[in-house]
Amino acid sequence: MTHEEIYQKLNGVFRQVFDAPGLVVGDATTAKDVEGWDSLAHVNLIVAVEKSFAVRFTTKEVKALANVGDIVRLIEKRAK
């Protein structure tokens, strides 16, 4: 899966979780940039990403996530 393909799919996940049809995220996007991205939605997001990409992250990895770029790097690392 290419970087672009991951982003295409990931944007779909973000739009579903945050119920925002026009949402586009990038490497530098953080929780502050997306309306409704609180700790509650964060758990929903992680579960949705794991399901959608068929990957599992460790607890430590999830805790260390700082922005969308981190999520993409994790997906790339896991989905080989």
Partner: protein, 595 residues
């Protein structure tokens, strides 16, 4: 309650649905969530699932791990919220830590923990009339001894099993406490899917997010049952549902059943249905068949488990099933939304779904060996109470048939009523009657003037209030059999007037003079209390139209209701003419009614 299958239990779909719900308005169910797990993820699920059941809701979340504090502090947010239902959710996580950190004698661990849980219930019940929905614990997967652990005392697994058993036993002894069997859900879906260590570490989630809707649905099932939602009747197709083949074509000897059913699945299904009957669910037949041919199977086939005596209604003809289901509804005098229809034929299922949408129509799998599983997965038969009367319900309907036959022999209603030799016990609330009283208050919809769903605990409180309250019930029998406790009236003193807070009667005893007997009693009590007037109230609902003129018929005058809830009525104590009834009052019944 699910209407056809479990497909509506998708986490993200429910989340979306919850977002689109309007804010709660008007009459709503108030749920309070307490727990040593995070409850935020549960809130939208509960609201969405309650909305699917036509119930508006408001949810209060206590702080994380504040169960005891909220319960014991009379000034806590819990009591300020005034919940209808308190949901207590406890995960294995905290329990596990306290077990591992304990040293020395662990043999009292389960009893001690169960005692603490019971103290919380008692504290809540003392300050609130809310029902309590207590979770049990998911059995842990750790096995330090392997299989041999079952032979070792005081393992974590053994003590959690003991604790779960203890929660059930103690719930039985504490009115208004219902168990949320989370361990059953975990076992059914598999603990390896249910338990989610990462989500526990990240957000103290009770379980995997995708299974959280199952927990929410379980809570909704219990909460709705506690507020009167209950299936009363299962309507059964015959050919290819109760037996294999078509009796009209294959003949009595040709159908697959008993010895001629190699798989034994139809016998197993009938055994399950008979068990439902024994637990108080009415069974009815609705079949496209010649009635005599269909009945003969029940009368003569050696492989039948169900017999005519197990059935409250039998409709076999060539009309459409929607019409026949309405006919069964009329005969049994129950609501369509309390009926479940089981039919192997998808065409009939869809027809009933479209023509009588209130009826619950489970999707049945093609393999009849999976019927019981499909029905069990929907948890259709949740209840919040159980009394001996439930088990006699089918008998009650058969006794009614005999009365109806008798009735046609009499010229006048009076003669008929006299011939029934009806006796009644009118009694102030007594502890032994409370479960049945609470059940009647929760379940009655039609002959119910105010539809105030007082809980068992509230009834108990009224029972103790000798000066301000006269709550009574009427138990009836006649020469054909027992009706049991079928009328509840709650009177409250309001200065120089006596107010009828609640007047509820089972529809089984209409036009027998029971309501007249009860009203006579109301005015006797008004005199005893020294009241000058009796006040009544009718609060209309979708189902209680049959009593809208109830107070008019007793000569009450309509008043403007100051608080606007329904219609108020009043009648002077001296203006009331006691009604003549053909019922003999007795202080107690001999035999099974006790006393």
């Amino acid at each position: 309650m699910l209407k056809s299958d479990r497909s509506e239990l998708d986490y993200f779909a429910l989340l979306k649905k919850a977002k689109e719900l309007p804010p709660p308005a008007g009459r709503r169910l108030k749920l309070a969530l307490l727990g040593d797990v995070s409850t935020q993820h549960l809130v939208p699920l509960l609201r969405a699932l309650l909305a699917s059941n036509g119930v508006d809701s408001e949810v209060y979340e206590a702080g994380f791990d504040t169960v005891e504090v909220e319960a014991l502090d009379p000034a806590s947010g819990l009591y300020a919220f005034a919940p209808d239902v308190v949901v207590i959710l406890q995960a294995i996580g905290k329990l596990k830590s306290s077990y591992y950190e304990s040293t020395g004698d662990r043999s009292t661990f389960a009893q001690t923990r169960a005692g603490e849980i019971e103290e919380v219930w008692k504290a809540i019940r003392k300050r609130s009339g809310a029902s309590i929905v207590q979770s049990n614990f998911v059995l842990p997967y750790e096995r330090p001894f392997g299989n041999y652990g079952l032979e070792v005392p005081d393992t974590l697994h053994g003590l959690v099993s003991e604790l779960n058993r203890e929660i059930g036993l103690r719930a039985r002894q504490n009115a208004g406490v219902l168990v949320n069997d989370v361990d059953y859900l975990a076992a059914w879906f598999g603990r390896r899917h249910f338990i989610d260590e990462k989500l526990w570490a990240l957000s103290k989630s009770l379980c995997a997010l995708e299974l959280l809707p199952e927990v929410a649905q379980n809570i909704v099932d219990i909460a709705l049952a506690a507020h009167g939602r209950a299936v009363k009747c299962v309507v059964l197709d015959l050919d290819n549902t109760l037996w294999g083949g078509v009796v009209g074509d294959d003949g009595l000897e040709g159908i697959e059943l008993g010895d001629s059913d190699e798989t034994g699945v139809f016998r197993a299904f009938q055994l399950y249905l008979r068990e439902l009957g024994r637990r108080g669910i009415l069974l009815a037949v609705c079949s496209k068949n010649d009635e005599a041919v269909a009945r003969r199977v029940f009368q003569e086939h050696p492989g039948m488990v169900l017999r005519e005596d197990d059935l409250a209604a039998f409709v076999a003809n060539w009309e459409d099933k929607a019409t026949n289901i309405r006919r069964i509804r009329d005969k049994l005098n129950i609501g369509l939304d309390t009926m479940v229809f089981l039919d192997d034929n998808p065409f009939e299922r869809n027809l009933v779904r479209q023509m009588v949408p209130d009826v619950i129509v489970p999707e049945l799998p093609e393999d009849p060996g999976l019927y019981v599983r499909a029905i069990s997965e929907m948890n259709l038969f949740e209840v919040a109470s159980h009394s001996a009367l439930d088990e006699q319900r089918a008998t009650l309907y058969r006794e009614q048939e005999k009365r109806d036959e008798e009735r046609s022999r009499f010229e006048s209603l009076d003669d008929y009523l006299k011939s029934l030799e009806t006796t009644a016990r009118v009694a102030r609330f007594e502890p032994r009657d409370l479960p049945r009283i609470a059940q009647l208050l929760q379940r009655s919809n039609q002959f119910n003037l105010t539809t105030r769903r007082h809980s068992e605990a509230e009834c108990e409180a009224m029972m103790g209030d000798e000066a301000g309250c006269f709550p009574f019930s009427i138990t009836v029998r006649d020469r054909f059999g027992d009706f049991g406790l079928i009328n509840v009236v709650i009177l409250r003193r309001a200065d120089s007037a006596l107010e009828i807070d609640t007047f509820v009667m089972s529809c089984r005893v209409l036009q027998r003079g029971v309501e007249q007997l009860a009203m006579n009693k109301v005015f006797e009590e008004a005199r005893r209390f020294g009241c000058r007037r009796v006040l009544g109230r009718y609060i209309p609902t979708a189902k209680n139209g049959m009593v809208k003129d109830f107070y008019d018929r007793f000569g009450f005058r309509r008043e403007a209701a100051p608080d606007g809830e329904g219609t108020s009525f009043a009648l002077g104590v001296d203006e009331y003419l006691p009604r003549q009834v053909h019922i003999r009052e007795v202080a107690a019944f001999p035999g099974r009614e006790g006393g």
